[in-house]
Structure formats: structure tokens, C-alpha cells
Symmetry: D3
Subunit: 149 residues, 6 copies
């Protein structure tokens, strides 16, 4: 859905919640194929039995992509993806884990270079089916201010 | 290749360079499919003609995944992916752009919680075929120190 | 988004419009791979030059899947996909065509077997970038009536 | 195989049978990716445990595509795909179900607009490994009559 | 189609011809993803401009897989894939090339270890749209002899 | 990594070993999609229960592609892929099998047509997690001799 929301419209602490998505074996293998990262911790079901987690783990970038994608359900023509801060892989995600994502507006900042814009920071947390955080990051959006929208 | 490199082995300013990889139309459509982000700026070749860049742009997460994957060519059993800082989408990547990645050790830090480990920070820059930076980020690794490796 | 809408909530002639999506060469090749239909009209860029349309055409089922998928942006827990009627491939879709979809409630019917449900029929039309209809069909939903929802 | 069969060559009640194909988890996730339909009934292995069927179900369009694809093993240069009638999702298909398809010529009709063509209707039924019908539809072909082929 | 053909049924010099299939950019990128071979001759549209062929080339294994797949249109329950001999990459295949395959029974041999079986050798040649051979190989089948089938 | 190695640099009996890669169900289904080979021994989990191996088997070409890809980790600008000899499918690979590859220089030969080049033959063996050989082949490279490199 398209919804025009300006810098002033975002309220700190407002929050949204995604549906769940189960990470399947093929997600990992296809992500290896898209990125070229075929490291055995993702691809070798035998070798991982000798390691700490005993099972294959999803690429960090896979969980990041999926988590960010799960929050991409509203098109705001005056918002621009600026980047991410403090992306942290807190707990591995394994095959069969189901991820849900919470996104909460955690901060707003002026943009010293662009007085007619401002930054909105959304804290993104991807949790597994046990409610444990697998990944956290801050998603930075550059937003037009109302007077210029 | 497996190569055990401890915290002490990383030297600030040492650098490595990837090959190139051309971003194709299907990379974007498949990334939409993996993430669920089908926004028209990625998917609608007609609508984008009315927009600033006149053509479809790759998802930021696609360029991040590909850039990180292009640096994943050495397995270090005593290195752990910790996260990313300051991921910035500096310039859009379009269909047909060819990305090369430079990764430079930019910093090393103690880990206050784990005295036998330390952080190594690698500055990752993905450039297009014109030498312009499309994406930059800091890749944080947690490394064992030699005495414990 | 989740939104509970009962049989009574659907109004004949109400309509919704999708974004656009460009059909790429890889969509056709991947659909061939998912279905096993590698017929030369989809796969052979040389042979099609000898045929009426001079270029490869998308599988009818690809356009149907994409069109239906483009309307799947609202989860209604009391609606059930029942089927499609009168699916018609009116005009071929070629590589590079951009599809947009209009979905209009065209009819409502009682369900003789389930008095607490009713059928809502949505007329789905997929148009190309020239505004010409490529595919039309009726999407049948079985909806709970309010008194039972 | 190429085989030219005209309208007159199709006999009502003649039938053909496909091999089997097992629907895997990745078929569903890739179909979500091709269509953009990531609804939790297809993607969330946890949530579906709370629902009637207790497990993820394949998209209706996936089963339709696969079933139609399984019958696409003969190229008839004088046959044209016209559309589908009465597509019905009779029973859900789950991960691991194996689908086989029976296609039976069920009707032939004149085409009032094209006296040198006629419609052949093939009743397509996709059954699971228990012999239960998952999907049924009528596949309409427009066929040249012999005198014009 | 299932067709039981025994060792005795194969005639030297009998031949079959496939349809055409155009090799697309995504075939190469997806094959890189399935195999992990992201070498710049397949993936880097800029670097290849400096090389002999000026454009990206398909992986040899991609053309082999596609060519063998294009001959896999008949299931013979008494034939077993034994291997390939003399696989030769004679000419590179580029994006947009259209491959057709000719398969000719070129030899039959006894199997010294299995007197009730014999080898049938099929010469497979994949040609591009200019009629030039891109790949040739011998496909070895182990066939039951009639008396034992 | 790029490493220029001439004909003279290859030593008979020198060997290298890959990591492991687990073959997943989706590898087989995607390989069916890339090649068009949907034979029931790869795709039908029910029918294979009636057959010798009781479970689906990977396409021979899939294991060949993966095995060759697993050895493609060094770019040698003076080496050219020439072909394969004696590709043999010795044991089927099943879903969940983990493949590792050993590649050993087994022979070197002059090239009568190109006195400034020579052939290096690498014996490739793909073993499953039980150490049993699934596939063996000879990979032929055409190498520049030092005096011309």
C-alpha cells in the first residue's frame, strides 16, 4: 500500500509486528548461491555435527534480508532507505526456525546537511519461535518534513 | 581455503580486492522473491521511468549480501561474524552495473567482555564499474587472540 | 495486513489496483523450471522469430500466478480461496511487458450447501503497459457471513 | 514431441496419466517468491499448528501450475491454450504430498466466431498419494479443424 | 513417456533431435549459484570485454546439463545412466545463444561383467543457432538385453 | 584467488580436498528445473519406494556440476577447461548425502596440435559421508607452458 508519511508523522515508540516466516533448508542453499558463501557452517550437515551448534546455521545476511523484507509492506514515497546501524547477529538461526519481526521507532534526528529532511530510526528485532532475538539492527530512513512534502 | 588467523595477525590498513560481479535483472527479481520486497522501484520498469533514476534499482540488501559474499573466500575457524556498523547505501546499483569490493582492516578493538578475544573491523566498499561507491559498511569480526587459539 | 471482512462487507463494484511488475526473461525460464513446460514458444528465441508473435511468450500459468499474487496483499481470516472461473488468456505477455492488475467485486452468491457462508466473485484483469488486457479471470472466495464470523 | 492433432482427432473420454511429483517445502517458498504471496498459511510452520490443517499448505496457484505443467508433454502446433474453467481447490496439498494428474477429454464444442476451429475441453484432476483429488479444472484448447490444418 | 527398449532395440546411426533452448543471463548466474563457480568469465560483464570473447561465457557444466536434459524425454525402465566419455567444450556458449541437441546412437558394446546387459553409446552434440557445435560428448547407457528384460 | 600456474607447475599426484556440501531436496528439484529432467526417480517420493534404492536419487549431472564447482576455487588465467573423460556415476547420491571432493593430478600429456601447451588431467572423486565414491571423472585442462606464459 502507498501511504505518504512525513518526518513529523513518525512517533517514537510506535511499533509494528510482522507475520512469521519459517527458514527452510533451501533458503540457506539459495542464499549461498546468491552470495557465493558456501562455508561449511551453512552447507555441510556432517561437519556441523562436530561444532558448537550441531546443525547448520543461516547466513547472517539471509536473516537480515528476510527481516528487513518482512517490514517492507508499506510504500512511502517520501521515505528513503539510508542504511543500517548496529546490525548484530545475536543468536544463530537454524533450519526450521520461524522468524517474526518487530519494528519500533526508536529515535528521530535532524539531518544537518538537509534541513528539509530528518532521520527516523527504526529498531528492528527478529525473534525465533522461542521469543529469543536472533538479529537486531537499526534501520535508518531519511524522511521529508511536511512543509516540503 | 581454511586459514587460522588470530586477532594479532590482522594489520590495520591491509586490504583485499574482489573480482567483479555484474548485477543482473534476475538478481533483483530473485531477491524480491527471497525477501518479499516487490516495491515498484525494483520491479516496475515502466513506473521507474517517471522517477529520478529512470530505471529499476537493486535492493540495498541485495548489494549488501553480494558485497559481503564476495569477501567470503577464506574460512578462519577462530573468527566469528559479529555484525555490521554504518551500512550506507551511497549510490543506487542498476541492472548491468558491475560491482567490485575492497575490504580494508580499518580498526582493532578490545572486547571488554571477552579478554581472550578482540574485534577486528573491516571497511567494506562496493564500487560500480565507474569506480563510484554504491555501498559502504563496517564488518565486525570477533577474533580469538593467539594465546587462546 | 490482517483484516477480517465478512460476506456482508464486500460491495459489488468496489475495486482495487496493484502496482506494476515487469515480466523478465528469467521469470519465464524459472516458471518453465517449476512446471516442466519448456515448449519452444517460451524458451527458443530463434524459433519464435518464425512464428506469429516473433518473440517468446510467457506461460499462461505464469501470468495467472503473478496476477493473483499481486492481489494477495490482505489476509482475511474468514475468506477461503475456492477457485477460479473463466480464466482467459486474451493477449500474450512478452519479456519486458509490465503487468498491472485490477480486481473488482463483480458478484456475490449464496452457497446452497453452507447457509452461513457466501461466495464473493472478484473479476481480475491483468493489463500490460499499453493498457491492453493480457489475462482475465474470476476469483471465487468463500466468505463467512457476519453472524457466524 | 511434436504431434499435429486436429479438432477431429480428439475423442471424448480418451485419457492420459502423468507421472508423480512430490511437492517439497522449497516449491512453496519459491512460489511465494515468484508470486509475492507470503501468507502465513504457506510460510509459517508455527502459526499453522494453531490452524485446522496443522501444517503449511501449498498455494492453489502452485498446484495448478504444476498440474498443468505435468500435462504439457506434447507440442501440437495447431492447438492454442484458451483458458481454464471451473478451477477448484478441493483439498489442500501439503509438503511431501505427491501429485499425479489425469487429463480426460470431456467435451468438444464449436467456436461460433471461428468456424474453422473448435474447442476441446480436457478435464484435469490432480490427486495426492492417497488418490484424493486436490485440484480439478477444465483446460480449454482451441483446435484447428482438419480441413484448415 | 515410458517406453521399454532393450539393448537389441537400439540401432546404430538412429538419431533424435531436440527443440531449441536459449541460454539466458540468469541461467549462468543461477548455475554459478548452484555450483559455487563465480569466476569472472561467467559473472563480470566488464572484465570479459578485455578478454578474447568480449562477453560472458556459460559454464561448461551448464551447457552439459542443459544438453543432457534436453535429451531426457523418454523413460526407459531397463536403461541406466552409466556415465559420459569424451565431454568436449568445443566452442563457448554466450548469453542469448540458442542450443539444439542431436543425439545419435554411435556404438554398442558388450559388458564383460554383466552378460545380460550391454552398453549403448549415444553421441550428443549441442549446436548453437549458427549450427556450430558448442559441446559434444558420448552418453553411456547400460541396457538390459531382451532375454532378461 | 588468481594464481598463474603453468603446465610445468603441476605435479603428478599432488592433491587437494574440498569442504563438504550436503545435497538437499531442493537441489534436485531446482536441477530438474534447470535441465528439464523431471523423471520420477528424482521427483516422485512415492514411486521410488517401489524401486531398488527406496528413495529419490540426485541427477548424475547435478553431482557432476556440484563436484566440479567445489574444485573451482582458484583462477588460473593460463588454464582452459578442455573437457571431461570417463565420467562415471558409481553410486547414487540421495537427499541428505554430504559430498566432499578430492582432486588429484593424475597425468600430463603433450598437445600434438599446440606445442606451447600441454594437457593436465585431474582425477576428481566425489565421496559421500560414508567415504564411498559417488562420482569419478577426469577433468582435462589445457595449460600454457612456461616459456609462452
Amino acid at each position: 500500500m502507498i501511504k505518504t508519511s512525513c518526518f513529523e508523522d513518525y512517533e517514537i515508540a510506535s511499533s509494528r509486528q510482522s507475520f512469521g516466516r519459517s527458514i527452510i533448508e533451501a533458503d540457506i542453499v539459495l542464499h549461498a548461491g546468491q552470495t557465493g558463501d558456501f562455508f561449511p557452517r551453512h552447507m555441510d550437515a556432517e561437519w556441523v555435527k562436530t561444532q558448537e551448534f550441531k546443525q547448520r546455521i543461516a547466513h547472517g545476511t539471509l536473516i537480515l534480508c528476510v527481516a528487513i523484507g518482512m517490514t517492507a509492506n508499506e510504500i512511502n514515497p517520501v521515505a528513503f532507505a539510508y542504511g543500517y546501524d548496529r546490525v548484530r547477529f545475536i543468536r544463530p538461526a537454524h533450519i526450521g526456525d520461524t522468524i517474526t519481526v518487530t519494528a519500533t521507532i526508536s529515535d528521530k534526528r535532524d539531518d544537518p546537511k538537509r534541513p528539509d529532511h530528518g532521520f527516523v530510526i527504526e529498531q528492528v528485532e527478529a525473534r525465533n519461535q522461542h521469543g529469543k532475538i536472533a538479529l537486531a539492527c537499526q534501520h535508518l530512513y531519511l524522511l521529508q518534513r511536511r512543509e516540503v512534502a
